[in-house]
Subunit: 338 residues, 2 copies
Amino acid sequence: MGVSLKDIAERAGVSLATVSNVVNGYRPVGERTRQRVQQAIDELGYTPNLGARHLRRGRTGLIALAIPELNNPYFAELAEIAIREAAGLGYTLVMENTAADREAELLLLDGSHRHTIDGLIFSPVRIGRDEVLARSADTPLVLIGEGVYDVPHDHIAIDNVAASHAAIQHLVAIGRRRIAFIGAAPGADRQSAHLRMRGYREALAAAGLPFRPQLVARTDEFGRLDGRRAMRDLLALGEPPDAVFGYNDLIGIGALRALAEAGCRVPEDVAVIGIDDIEEGRFSTPTLTTIAPDKEEIGRLAVRRLVARIEGAEVAAPLTVQTPFRLVRRESTGTPGA
Amino acid sequence: MGVSLKDIAERAGVSLATVSNVVNGYRPVGERTRQRVQQAIDELGYTPNLGARHLRRGRTGLIALAIPELNNPYFAELAEIAIREAAGLGYTLVMENTAADREAELLLLDGSHRHTIDGLIFSPVRIGRDEVLARSADTPLVLIGEGVYDVPHDHIAIDNVAASHAAIQHLVAIGRRRIAFIGAAPGADRQSAHLRMRGYREALAAAGLPFRPQLVARTDEFGRLDGRRAMRDLLALGEPPDAVFGYNDLIGIGALRALAEAGCRVPEDVAVIGIDDIEEGRFSTPTLTTIAPDKEEIGRLAVRRLVARIEGAEVAAPLTVQTPFRLVRRESTGTPGA
DNA sequence: CCGTACCTCTATAACGTTATACGGGTGGTG
DNA sequence: CACCACCCGTATAACGTTATAGAGGTACGG
């Protein structure tokens, strides 16, 4: 079917090895033969069989991006960036959806894909440090997000405590006093939820505001539906909050919806802020104030570090990178002009 | 590094071929040896090297899903379904983002990935029938969406004319007379935009309403931003529309935003309807009425048909499937109760 | 008791690459 | 002129699988 090295070797009257060297320059080739080979390649339209190449090289050319929710626009945007970056480096990126399922995450860690992928970019949410330390697979692993800390792998994330701190600080700055948090996690799950919670508490303390447990709403998942449900509960309180900090933008969107249904004005009655800066928040009514991580940076960095590991930078110590974030003010906390 | 067939062949004291037969049952193996081999497999933790297998079999086990916008939640939702279905059938799905770029689409068609993927699920928007007919690659191709018709490939899509018809009919039924369409495509691009436009015109005619060219807004892209921009233009007309039909939900969301910014009430002043039924539309304010295609059916069917072709059902004639859709009434056209 | 038909297993040649080891020219140097 | 060094190229052995051809052994019918 396909045109192989052999075909063009015959055509150009040279050996297989020479053609291979022309194609990927492992050894120098004389100018005359190089041209003859190149011509044959062009005429027959040769493209290397990547499967065979990777078999020989011991690699597959595939890297995986494992995320808890493909439906979350944050991850969709991140995936798009990562796919582009990987393609540029000669790798194909495949997406693995763990659906925030513990079993799925463990399976991924222990490399049921051992032979299939060269490396893994992983955003874990249901497993912890111990599970990562105990993993048996030996392919490079880059962690993103805030699930796990202090493990011997590259790790890229924003500073969650600081990000939450900034969010609360903003709400305080616009005069809010009863600030709720939606998206606390039950048990040991979702480390990032704990971190954001910690930033919430620290910022409250720093502002001299009391921590009120009834203003903390836990959710099972972290989607729009969960945000709406939690917001409804908060509104049912004797003294409802005057501001809400959502674990992510989807929670924030859900909260906005619940507020609209309850006839509350945003931001006059309740201000809302999220994290992620998904495009949806720029078009919601009202638009959603958010903490914007540098997705471009996270996606590109993760892929580049992983590929560097795959291609042999074994010696360098694992790097933990904290990518920058910034506050984006929008209508849900009152526009600067208003 | 990895455990190979050879390792477990030695361990079990049998030949390579026998182990291979135990693993994938090409030839029967005696019960006693089968058990011995199976035990060795379990003890050493063998997993087949898929690269080598696929090299030998002439397949890679990869299928691609090529879509114009990964950021569009409609495609993200579709991708999630397709990934799941593919995994269930033993294939890995990789996403290709054409970014609605003509060159990218042509490249994909002519199989620069010839050796890399076994088949392609493709949602073309910038190329037409001729380009598909002229393609040189010989891997199976399943088309989704409405870009191209009458080509010798499996094709899965909703009936766009009928879907648009249904949308307009609904707007007419709630008493609207000046119905605009956002998302007409310039030139020959976006066949689906033409089809939806046709449904729009037909339904207007069927309702005895005049076709007013000034109520048709073309857009370059099909995102929220384009919807907002177009809606602004429509509002600037001497006689603005009393209803808007968006090419898709993102356009609809953008239109909602423009209406909110202009202080228009929805649906009282202007009703809005889209196509796709993305989750975002269930949480926007107001919620967005839409034509809901059966994404589950489209995604699963596309993968299943592709895999069937790959695995040799060459003879069966290409199938064109029109998947069902339904109208989902939400606030943007007035709730049934109101 | 031989021939034949199984049934189970083995040996081996691919699949398309890349890396290693080697060979045959050419030019420069002592 | 003999020697070494080099440059350019070839031959070939892997990588881990699967499919084909065939080799033993046992059972069975004639």
